[in-house]
């Protein structure tokens, strides 16, 4: 088990380095921060001074070398805009995103498992058909459209909820609900399919022959077996939320990492972009590790 964790950590380190190289050089191709930062009328000297101050006058490779050196010591540089350490800025935003992702995915997982399992138990019944329709709509609706409609209906017309921003608990409701819909739709379908095959399996027949009640058959015998493929997709969906739900965060003015990343890219705040990418990549690595371990926990046949 420990060897497995170590091996995975090493493999992830390599991809992190690759990611770093790619993002560093690609982001430098997007334009000159000096001309974006300084007023249009700034003189060439001022621009040169700005570049020298931030090390932007050095050859790219030298800049990269310095950057990597700093990263190793835990220094991800200063945010050009906010004049604060980039890591602090990112971690602050990431905390918001993390909460949003954790709450949303917890709700999605619970709801999808219950709905999907019950749909599978009576295939072709009313509940099955109803939940299939709902989940199909959920999986297909574009989230930006849903976000805007939700604001119009619940925030503007009914005035039940705030339109955007943060501050109170009610600020969380709309973003969570909007982010909930798509993964819910996808995972319900998956749980249903996976449960149908688990419920028709031979060991369920044995359980019925033993006289086990329907509840335990669904939620103890079949579900644990059916969860294996589902977990992969839950992880996948969670990863896309951790990346920052860029559009939804922007629409709701939610100060998460997705919004931060978009803002920083538009402002050529390279250090923040790089720090955000590193932090989310690291979080996704951790989450994948947790998923692999959950696999082993659920299925005794899997041993690392």
């Amino acid at each position: 088990m420990l060897t497995f964790v170590r091996k995975r950590a090493f493999a992830s380190l390599i991809s992190l380095v690759g990611l770093l190289v790619m993002v560093f050089f690609l982001s430098r191709l997007t334009g000159d921060p000096a001309s974006l930062f300084l007023p249009v009328e700034a003189s060439a000297e001022m621009k040169a001074e700005f570049r020298a101050l931030h090390g932007l006058d050095q050859p790219l490779l030298v800049q990269f070398g310095q950057y990597v050196g700093n990263v190793v010591t835990g220094d991800l540089g200063e945010s050009l805009r906010k004049a604060r350490p980039a890591l602090d800025v990112v971690l602050e935003a990431f905390t918001w995103t993390l909460w949003l992702a954790v709450i949303t995915m917890t709700l999605v997982t619970i709801a999808a498992i219950v709905v999907g399992s019950l749909a599978a138990f009576r295939t072709g019944g009313f509940f099955d058909r109803f939940s299939s329709m709902v989940s199909l709509i959920g999986a297909s609706v574009p989230d930006f459209w849903l976000a805007i409609v939700a604001i119009v209906v619940f925030a503007i017309q009914l005035s039940w909820l705030p339109t955007s921003g943060t501050g109170t608990l009610s600020h969380w409701i709309l973003p969570i609900c909007v982010l909930f819909v798509r993964p819910f739709g996808i995972i319900v379908q998956l749980v249903r399919g996976s449960m149908i095959s688990a419920l028709s399996s031979a060991y369920v027949k044995t359980a019925r022959a033993k006289g086990v009640k329907s509840g335990p058959i669904i939620f103890i015998h079949a579900l644990r077996n059916a969860m294996l493929p589902v977990i992969t997709v839950i992880g996948d969906q969670a990863a896309s939320l951790l990346n920052g739900a860029v559009i939804v965060e922007t629409i709701f003015g939610f100060p998460g990492v997705g919004k931060l990343m978009i803002d920083s890219i538009l402002q050529r705040d390279f250090n923040v972009v790089l720090a955000a990418i590193l932090v989310t990549a690291f979080a996704i690595f951790l989450m994948n590790l947790v998923i692999d371990l959950a696999y082993a926990l659920l299925d005794p046949r899997i041993r690392y």
């Binding site: 359980a207 019925r208 033993k210 006289g211 005794p300 046949r301």
Partner: protein, 541 residues
């Protein structure tokens, strides 16, 4: 009149499918008393498992529907009970064991957990259930029963898993045990042990046993009475001896006649040089030695049967000889050239001569290809055999040769029965005009009567075309009828090699003797004599 333990009266079950309604069983009636064993004998599709599924309430409705009849347990109709009352009967009064214990045990829970669940479901406390589970594991003779409770199904051998299933089924001392092909997936020696255990437990508890099987040998070994089913109907019933000695219905007669192991044994008469000469073949999987130096010779038109239990290395040998896996030592000379050191180009040419027929035609035939495509694919790969203009004609000829009709060319594998599919696989192998066919359990999955047909087909090919066979099988009577030589393998080694007559009539090695002794004879009297001889031997030891 005293009630029978179980009485099935006039039961009919339909299944509604897309293609129409299937009458799975029609108006069948039988009974079973305490302490008695009733066998339901039938081939695949006969509906033999349907009535037991109805007894256990395991039929999915829909698509299934019980259209008539009663199932009386001690005189009470199970079909009229509420769902809850029915559930309370399952496990407590009637228990069931199945063919494939690996898939019938939940892979993600320990067997101890599953044992305890069987007990706790019917109201027994956790601590009591734990103690009871341990007692039962000891009773069914699982090695190291305490540790076994914490293990998972995949950590046991096939025979041990069936013991776990039996322990679980007997947890609540049921009055009736239904065993659906309980030993079909097991090796012969393990089958003998499991059947003996079942008999022993039946004597102890006095339960009635309903055993569902396709195997006359199993019937003669364990059953008192037998009912024979064909196409959903009960065609014959009686005591095992009466039915075997004096079958009334044509189908029963055919079934008994098809049972292998009664014909004349072959006397090898091939002469000339060997076409295949295998010497000291070795194969490792990591540190595990799957083949420990296997050697044998094969002449044109000759058949060598490789017998042995699972893990003996017989399938590995086949795969290594055909270079589907790389050998780790030894030589295999095909007409003087070593198959193992051959260049890929030479090997490709040789593939024509060496063909393989696998156990499961459902898996080895591509489901998206028509029969014509499956057969002619051989000529696409080896275009020198036949010009394209003649493909259709030759495919028709081959289908005719294996007993199918040329009109079948446009159909897909799923439109055929298991036996027909295996014929297609054979036709495909023949398309390359091979000189050696390796059959890896090629008839094991087929019904006895179909098995007999396929064996006749192979025998004809051998005589007409001089094809040599390496015939891998675990079914000894079948080997006895078909092979010239028998090679007995155990744990990667050849323990005995000889002509069929030598090995079957005068086995030298204890392992061969044990294998033969465990093999079941369809004749109840012969089987009873065998059983007594076996018991006498055991008591001597």
């Amino acid at each position: 009149m005293a009630d029978h333990l179980l009485e099935v009266r006039d039961l009919s079950v339909d299944f509604h499918t897309v293609t129409g309604t299937v009458h799975a069983v029609r108006n069948i009636s039988y009974y079973l008393d305490r302490g008695e064993t009733l066998a339901i004998l039938g081939e695949s599709g006969s509906g033999k498992s349907v009535s037991s599924a109805a007894i256990m309430n395991l039929i999915d409705m829909p698509p299934g529907k019980i259209t008539s009849g009663e199932i009386l347990l001690d005189g009470k109709d199970l079909l009229k009970m509420s769902g809850e009352a029915r559930r309370a009967v399952n496990g407590r009064r009637i228990a069931m064991i199945f063919q494939d214990p690996l898939s019938h045990l939940n892979p993600v829970y320990s067997v101890g957990w599953q044992m305890r669940e069987a007990l706790k479901t019917h109201g027994i406390s956790t601590t009591q259930a734990q103690a009871e589970a341990l007692r039962l594991f000891k009773r069914v003779a699982l090695p190291d029963p305490e540790a076994a409770l914490d293990k998972y199904p995949h950590e046991f051998s096939g025979g041990q898993r069936q013991r776990v299933m039996i322990a679980m089924a007997l947890a609540l001392k049921p009055d009736l045990l239904i065993a659906d092909e309980p030993t079909t997936a097991l090796d012969v020696t393990v089958q003998a042990e499991v059947l003996a255990l079942l008999k022993e437990l039946q004597r102890e508890t006095g339960m009635g046993v309903l055993i569902i099987t396709h195997d006359l040998g199993v019937v003669s070994e364990v059953a008192d009475r037998v009912v024979v089913m064909e196409k959903g109907q009960l065609v014959e019933s009686g005591t095992v001896r009466d039915v075997y000695r004096n079958p009334q219905h044509a189908y029963t007669k055919k079934l008994i006649a098809a049972a292998p192991g009664k014909g004349d044994m072959h006397e090898p008469d091939a002469h000339g040089a060997s076409i295949l000469s295998v010497k000291d073949v070795r194969k490792f999987y990591g540190g595990f030695e799957a083949l420990k130096g296997v050697s044998f010779e094969l002449k044109p038109g000759e058949t060598v049967a490789v017998v042995g239990e699972s893990g003996s290395g017989k399938s590995t040998l086949a795969r290594v000889l055909l270079r589907l896996e790389e050998p780790d030592g030894g030589t295999a000379r095909w007409k003087g050239k070593d198959l193992f050191t051959m260049s890929p180009g030479d090997l490709f040419k040789l593939r024509r001569d060496l063909q393989m027929v696998f156990q499961d035609p459902t898996q080895s035939l591509n489901p998206r290809m028509t029969v014509y495509q499956l057969i002619s694919e051989a000529w696409v790969i080896h275009p020198e055999i036949l010009p394209k203009a003649k493909w259709r004609e030759r495919a028709a000829e081959l289908l005719d040769q294996v007993g199918l009709s040329p009109e079948h060319m446009g159909r897909y594998p799923h439109q055929f029965s298991g036996g027909q599919r295996q014929r297609i696989a054979i036709a495909r192998a023949l398309a390359l005009e091979p000189q050696l066919i390796v059959c890896d359990e090629a008839v094991s999955a087929l019904d006895v009567s179909v098995q007999a047909q396929v064996i006749r087909l192979l025998d004809g090919l051998r005589k007409k075309m001089g094809i040599a066979f390496i015939f891998i099988a675990h079914d000894l009577p079948l080997v006895r009828d078909f092979a010239d030589y028998v090679m007995v393998m155990q744990k990667g080694e050849v323990v005995e090699f000889g002509t069929v007559a030598q090995v079957f009539d005068n086995p030298q090695m204890p392992y061969t003797q044990a294998l033969l002794a465990a093999s079941l004879d369809p004749d109840p009297d012969v089987q009873a004599a065998n059983r007594n001889a076996r018991l006498a031997r055991v008591s001597q030891i």
